[in-house]
Amino acid sequence: MIQLQNITKVYPMGKRELTVLRGVNIHIEQGELVAIMGPSGSGKTTILNLIGCLDTPTSGSYYLEGREVSRLNSGELARIRGEKVGFVFQTFNLLPRLSALANVELGLRYSGGGDRRRATEALAKVGLSDRANHRPTELSGGEQQRVAIARALVKNPPLILADEPTGNLDSRSGEEIISILTSLHAEQGVTLLMVTHEFNIAQRCQRIIYIKDGQVVSEETA
């Protein structure tokens, strides 16, 4: 499903350059549940952004479902994001002006068009049917993250990427979010890739990839 071959990423920082990734090789099968761990600044989020087609590598190849995507232009990348990838962010990233339902519906907007019925179903899957017309500010952190998960899964993407999904939540809400994500994986067979700081969360994944200084230092299969 996902194959990163010798990926490097260099950010220009004024006159100097900041090398974030130095030759990353990762292989993820379809339907896997994988955690990425590592200290701050190690390049975890950059890897997730590359896999999610939000960014392109400086060098190396990235195959998504057998297709080389590292050299595509921004329009083609946007299309892949719309069709293949569902994002869940640490800071939820809901639109504050829209209701929970409208936020979920937005997940379909750029991949086939809004569909209220599907959005309602997705919201029901995360157990928030009774909060459909609430705005994000009227919801708790855990509820907001559940709306974000509904937004990510509403278009049935083969790949869901979660960047520290529990980072802004208390442990009880965090536990809820993780069980929703893991059951999604178990029931729908989506490929789920999660960046996390918390070892007890990572341990619930099938495999843990450790990153340090822009390189994969070790892998551990649960």
Binding site: G75, G82, N93
Partner: protein
Amino acid sequence: MKRWFEPFSTAWVGVATHKLRSFLTILGIVIGVAAVITLMSIGRGAEAEIISRIESVGSDLITIRPGASIGFGGIRGAAGSTNTLTQEDAVAISEQVAYIDLVAPTYSKALQLVVGGENMNASVTGVPPQYQEVQNLEIANGAFFSDYEYQRGAKVVVLGSNVKETLFGEADPIGQQMRMGGNIVRVIGVLESKGAMMGSPDDAILIPLTAMQLMVAQPRTSQGERVVSSIALTVSDEEQADYVVDEITSLLRTRHRLGPNVDNDFSIMSMQEISDMLSETIGTMTLLLGAIAAISLLVGGIGVMNIMLVSVLERTREIGIRKALGARERDIWIQFLIEAALLTFAGGIIGVIAGWAVSYLVSTMGLMTTVVTADIVILAVSVSVGIGLFFGFYPAWNASRLNPIEALRYE
């Protein structure tokens, strides 16, 4: 939801979220459009009024006066003060120039009028009966003089409404007698008032030209022709007015024996020409006023651009989210462009309503006649949408080019 509708509803949410800000943003457009509509409607109204006044006189009218003209409105030497135009000229014109309907030579002279105790000195004009039709004169009371009265030189008079007012007040003047110079004349008709305008018939005192010739000595030229004050004529085909003017000019130059380097000793005014010139002048004025008003549209457009730039910055994170969800640059670009156009479109519509209301007020208060025409309304609204698209282009392009990762990280 239908797919094509989504960008519009998104843009509408963007506009509706900041109602006060959106309203203030479009205020410049509203004022600009309202000003354009009001000024243009006043200009069009003035134009329509002048044209209708000219048509009440008859746009087929051509007037020849003695004395050279220097362009529009300027006549060198007082008009009628030179003795160069004659009754024989009028005959020659009616016999030799094509497309002429009626010809009416006139001779005016100041005479003393006395009715009871009222006494005034006024210009009396001797005219043939066809003068009534040439000048489109309508009779309010009584009758115009007949061919028979003309032929026998009957001492009868038709008065303009102002003259009747001065001499007779509210009394019925028909059949009354009055002294004119050393003669007694009988009032047989009063003209319908046509309102204040140059050469208004309201001040006219008309008697048969034949009677005039009996009452006063009509001067003669050295060739023995009878001098007239003007020749009024109508053309049978208004399209041919220019041709008729040219023909009359060359005929009169020949008759007056003017050499090639000598200026005309007469001047010809056609109503068609005057009407064209007036509407052109008013049209230019209207356009100028409209252009000044359009400057505020431009200023309004810059305001829209400013707010759109702020809005893009403020919604950087939203743009990042949309991009993460699969929005292409084109989607973002269209979203902000539609939002800007929606703003200015709303401004245009409100401006049209406001401008319409103002010009309606202006005309109901009797200040000026106003005409709001569909072309101006359509123009104003499309120009405001155009302004939105033009000034929204750069902010929308800015938004579409944002890097999704940086946009998502934006606080």
